[in-house]
């Protein structure tokens, strides 16, 4: 019984995480410019990775490897915005202009 609940909960979390990865990827394809894409990837992928890892931690049980996976979640959540920031800053300093709705050159 306990194992079934554990597996169901873990499965739901992993599927939800995968869904966020999927949506983030759609965003990567649909959004009009680099900066808006960074929005999609940092947020959706960080949450997606967090959910998948949480599911795995539940599957592993909260002993040795479960705790290690929790540490990884913290690392992903702290490093993902940092990586997104580094990307956006590099683009900004290189002089890449953001897309604006008014300026006319609407995406594809």
């Amino acid at each position: 019984m306990m194992a079934a609940i554990q597996a169901t909960l873990a499965g739901l979390l992993i599927v939800a995480g995968a869904a966020f990865f999927f949506i983030g990827t759609i965003g990567l394809l649909r959004l009009p410019d680099f900066y808006t894409r960074v929005h999609a990837v940092t947020k959706c992928d960080a949450l997606g990775a967090g959910l998948v890892l949480l599911g795995l931690a539940i599957l592993a049980g909260f002993d040795g490897s479960g705790i290690r996976i929790i540490a990884l979640i913290a690392l992903v959540l702290l490093s993902s915005p940092t990586a997104g920031h580094a990307l956006a800053r590099a683009a900004w300093r290189a002089g890449l202009e953001p897309w604006y709705r008014k300026s006319g050159h609407v995406g594809q």
């Binding site: 759609i26 929005h39 956006a88």
Partner: protein, 161 residues
Amino acid sequence: MRVVQVAAVIFVFWLVLAVPLAPVDLVWGALVSILVGFWAAELLWADGAPALSLRRLAGLVIYTLELIRSIVPAALQVARVILQPTMPIDPVVIKHRMRLNHEFTRVALANSITLTPGTHCVDSENGVLTIHCLDEHFANPVRDGRLEDRITRVLQRETMS
């Protein structure tokens, strides 16, 4: 000295991830930690190691939990935008002068902004943040200082002293 401190932190984190292991692995882990420490000491702790008090550690844990809580609505909001056929975005870039005056809390603020719905930190220079917003109104929690107040509450207390 700074290299040793950085290497120690890296080594401990690696231990958490890698235990249980053979003695040979410990030696390799220590060697790699020192190598990475050499490189990271210049970047991470240029002004010396931060003093780690119990209160600051507690603040860091609370901050991480708040970060986790804020990322869920942020991801949901950006997902909603992506999945709408019309993609209702009207991006703006704003500048925000920070009241926070420590590197540590400024980094925390930038991270929080990036994980808050619709805002993404682009640049930080002389205490002014450049922030890309998916829409004008997403900038409100930044503009009215709500985010900064929260960080001050959690982290600034003892960094002031």
